[in-house]
Subunit: 278 residues, 4 copies
């Protein structure tokens, strides 16, 4: 079938997926949501025509946003996820038995709904009894919680529209305050090959707020350029020195991307990325 979903990755770059089936399309108060079956990457979930995840490569994003911080924090009991309404991130967090409570704050109820309906491979994350789902604006939520979480994950869409506020110094200060005194924040921070200035700014902001800050990288084929960055921002624990391979040992065989070696390697930045943030 000559049917294609195209992501305009930038004004001048497009990635097109051959589509076998349009599973659902809907508009929420915040955005358009669509689920497709693609030939190359299996099920594909988009928001406002941007790729959120595909069945075939979502494991990279979800393992790498979660296990890095969870492998460095010795006692990650209370976890907050801002965004992440598809469930993939909490699916990975739940693998850690040390985690006692996971609060997921998603602004758009329909992201959770469509995921539960059509994306069972990520939505399986909602089944765990440690999880509380709150439909709310993450920024408002953060403002109203102080000294509460061990790790906060910012699993957001791109920095446009309602997600834009998630990438500013002010917001990072609220996150800092919402974390306990040895807390860690991890956030997705876009793609260095084409968004160097943005990344420079984000890390400059983070460094004003947190004492320990570093980007780290992962290969994500269906995101622009295939090289995705995350921010590790921490009050106390170091991303390499405090890495404890024991923390992922029980379920190491179930993972498809993360290993303790990959953890360390993810912080070995290509020179142009290093230069960006120094």
């Amino acid at each position: 079938m000559n049917l294609w979903f195209t992501e305009n990755q930038t004004d001048n770059l497009r990635l097109s997926f051959r589509v076998k089936n349009l599973v659902e399309f809907r508009k929420s108060k915040f955005q358009t949501l669509a689920v497709y079956d693609t030939v190359e990457y299996g099920r594909l979930f988009t928001l406002d025509d941007f790729v959120m995840l595909t069945e075939k490569d979502e494991f990279v994003y979800h393992e790498m946003i979660s296990h890095i911080a969870l492998s460095c924090h010795p006692k990650p009991e209370n976890i907050l996820v801002i965004g992440g309404g598809d469930g993939g991130t909490i699916r990975e967090i739940e693998r850690h038995s040390r985690v006692k409570n996971i609060t997921l704050v998603e602004i758009d109820r329909e992201v959770v709904e469509i995921s539960k309906k059509h994306l069972p491979f990520v939505a399986c994350g909602f089944d765990d009894e440690r999880v509380s789902v709150i439909i709310d604006d993450g920024i408002e939520y953060i403002k109203n919680h102080k000294n509460k979480f061990d790790i906060i994950f910012i699993d957001s869409t791109d920095p446009v529209a309602f997600a834009e506020g998630l990438f500013h110094t002010d917001f990072y200060k609220f996150v800092f305050d919402a974390l306990k005194k040895d807390g860690i924040m991890v956030a997705q921070t876009e793609y260095p090959f084409l968004k160097g200035d943005f990344i420079k700014e984000v890390f400059s902001s983070l460094k004003q707020v947190f004492p320990i800050v570093s980007p780290y990288l992962a290969f994500i084929p269906t995101y622009p350029t295939g090289m995705w960055s995350f921010a590790f921002a921490s009050k106390k624990y170091h991303y390499i020195n405090d890495l404890n391979p024991e923390f992922t040992k029980d379920f190491a065989e179930k993972l498809k991307y993360y290993t303790p070696e990959v953890h360390k390697a993810a912080f070995a930045l290509p020179k142009f990325v290093k230069d960006l943030i120094e």
Copy 2:
């Protein structure tokens, strides 16, 4: 201008670049060659409508195909490059003053010509007096040289048509014989996310021939999936244990991707890649 070059990365996946200018298009005896100016990635060079390199991200491929082996071999005097007719790989090799001779064997004379005409940022590699360019079939060339080279780089196109033979056990045996007793071979080996079976086979073949074999990875945005693999195959030197950071120290500031840390990290394979080759 609504003018687009599209690479059919697979039958079901397309990457499209907005084009500002078509610089040249020609047909050689072997393939079609085209040079475009794109908005996002600058100058783009294609063979048979497949992306060979772009001005903006070629540094990754060329630094990572070359400096890994050159950082492990203590005395890399005689170097052979099969393919690589654009000049980018030899540009990087030339940074190493320990290298005395570089022989480049390119099957298609017009690749060299078009690069010299339109791709000065890679074709600058041809200016060095240590370089000899031979227009010939790399397979034939290899067969006729024994015990001669310290490092052989297989900088080929995708494993189709005339390049297909570059990925078989028989060819690897010729390479083995063409290397000196402590020689190293590096080859580009496609993208693990979508070509897992191919990579499995290639590394299985390599292991039958070489005692030390490992894939390593680099982020290349304009190649399919953005995650590219290379094979390191060596008779004696190990890709990590024999890494000597001194070998790239003199020109470290000129590089944009490679660092000794990136070198090590490139061998930390995501679990699914590791599983592929074990």
Copy 3:
């Protein structure tokens, strides 16, 4: 939604429709069938990725394939349609109360099924009690019927694969024999702007078989070039001289394209088309 169905109209020309919904996709013994909802043209039906009809412009094809011959034949009692399994052509034929029997011979049962399921605006043609549907190869069917029909409509797909035989002299001879002594054949005959040689050949073949032959034209936006040709081939009645406007008078107000003036105008060929067939 950035989802597009693309018809490769030729190797070098593509028409793309933004799709709102994929209604159904299936493979039959003969071809792939798909039904989409498009933004610009409403429901779209394709066979092997070629546009068969759209909700918004199908009226042109179906009115123009049928009413021309039916307006020239004084007593069109027995009608045969080869192909046309979507029902659109018989829907138009049924408007003529002079018609007593309509036999539709469609090779692919699933065309009829999918039309009944998803294309009610054309499939309404199946409801009339004068209609008999036969699932069979039209060429075989024609061979086995002599001197039987007043008008035969060849409502086929493009001249490739199993439809190819519908455009040869031998087939036209069978059609001639299947017609009564004053019978008329009408066939779709592709697009003169880009298929001049094909049309030349088809009309040369037809003229060897029928005494009265002419192409006529209609504007069909979703077919290649927008200019579609039909063949009028007749044993006795002339396409202009025997036109009787009374024959469409009762339902003239229900039509959207055909009028007796349009009928005449359709035979006024642009000079390059006239030159093609002379």
Copy 4:
């Protein structure tokens, strides 16, 4: 070469041409201009990424905008063309030896320049000594000339930006005044299949100004829907009754679309078009 120029015909419909060569791209004060060589339609000229003409089908537009009025007016001595800076329309007008002066008023000097440089098949129109080219805003020009022209051709781009004023009642009144007492105006008026409301409005405006008004149609494959409309608006001469086939007889063999029969047929409107303007 997998290089494509795409016209976004509407927000939901795209036509793509495989490109062999980008001949020239430039920006003028008014618009972007580009010339391509396409595989299917030869040389292609675009303004702001909209198709203006192609080598292979421009004859339809240029013959049909010009010969209709020129075949109805008995003494077309002074001709004005608004727009038409590529030269194709004046090339056709010049075939009529009864014409004494042709004034072409084009707003963008660079349209004339690029046509002379790259589109010799239409730019040949500038060589005739009866032609005066004026670089000016057509609306201003018309306002300042009264009772002067026998025929005025509005050979404009689509009704957006600076061309928008060419489709309003006020403008038509200026045209009326600029014409002699038996003058005729012809204008291109877009595509009825998708711009019905626009056409309804244009013809309603024209009827308020001119006593004799009718649309007529031509097949133009590279314009949206392939069915293009023109307005014939006249003070005295009728588009059918005053048609004199003698007026095109001398060069009839040189034309590829227009014939006196095609002239008449062009006014036989499909019922939905007729309904639009009644």
